[in-house]
Subunit: 189 residues, 2 copies
């Protein structure tokens, strides 16, 4: 104990959760969409390889319509209600080869989407990532070349004002459970 | 334009960079180390699979000593000067099988390390991730089972007070360059 205040988990991390209910009236400004992508853009990556790209649709526009078409039944019940639907693409292979573009293409895409999520939280928005969509159909719909992969999607929007105040009240409590800290540590001094 | 202020990139994202020079006098408190791991712990993951674990050494302790032993020549010049050295492990396979534990083990580990990095920034620290170490030697050193992978390391610490004020002055300018936003967009409305 050195008299400093106890460091606390940053509020934008501790308050983060992944809703499946979004405010269907809420819309994002162009500037908000841009700053979300800007957050992803400045993520770190192995050798600055930046192995990411995004397909971005707003509720009601043509891109969102073309994304929604390929959602699985489970995600189609809620993901279209978000203000923004983003398909997150990983640069998997060097064009025309079977050589990995980067060993860290998934890892770095995860970092970029975490940055986007953090920025969304800072704008008062919430994000839910999901995999329940037809990957190859989305790739075909948007002419994504075979050396890129449509890895995940993220639904971004505002949760309705009657959102639970406590994470304990969230409808999906298992998502608010984590292994204990000591279980994450492989070796201690 | 709706009269709202322009949304800005969150300062903890816009100010982030990856130093290779750390303050060799700086030490982290136990509580700071704990909250860094806590940040990683609360990252989202596919089906809440939490495919991550960490080997955490502080400058001068036995774990750090055992990690440093397996750094490549390039990283051994700077990574040991950081206050903390963390090996980031991905849960790749179901134990005793060649079945993927999660299709998103790298992606979600990337998210967890991004969370840790964000928390580090909030504590006034900086992080540099790297791959320049002997992966199998670290696994052997710490008895990491074959279904887990020592994917990356992160050096975390305080940059010396004479740090550049502007990212343009950083010694490694290419790391502060990114593809333009429009190049990240696969399709527009």
């Amino acid at each position: 104990m050195n008299g400093l205040p106890e460091p606390a988990l940053h509020p934008l991390l501790s308050s983060r959760w992944s809703p499946t209910t979004f405010d269907t009236e809420h819309e994002l400004s162009d500037a908000q969409v841009e700053v979300l992508l800007e957050a992803a853009r400045w993520a770190p990556s192995a050798g600055n390889s930046q192995p990411w790209a995004f397909i971005v649709g707003r509720r009601g526009d043509l891109v969102q319509h073309r994304l929604v078409r390929h959602l699985a039944r489970s995600s189609s019940a809620w993901a279209p209600t978000a203000s923004l639907l983003v398909a997150n693409l990983a640069h998997r292979y060097v064009e025309g080869t079977d050589w990995e573009y980067s060993e860290f293409s998934h890892y770095d895409l995860g970092q970029a989407v975490a940055h986007m999520t953090f920025q969304a939280q800072a704008l008062g928005l919430s994000v839910r990532q999901f995999r329940a969509f037809d990957r190859s159909a989305v790739a075909e719909e948007f002419d994504v070349p075979v050396n890129w992969e449509v890895t995940t999607m993220a639904a971004i929007g505002r949760v309705p004002s009657v959102r639970p105040d406590s994470v304990a009240e969230v409808a999906d409590p298992p998502s608010r459970q984590r292994r204990a800290l000591h279980e994450l540590l492989w070796a201690t001094a």
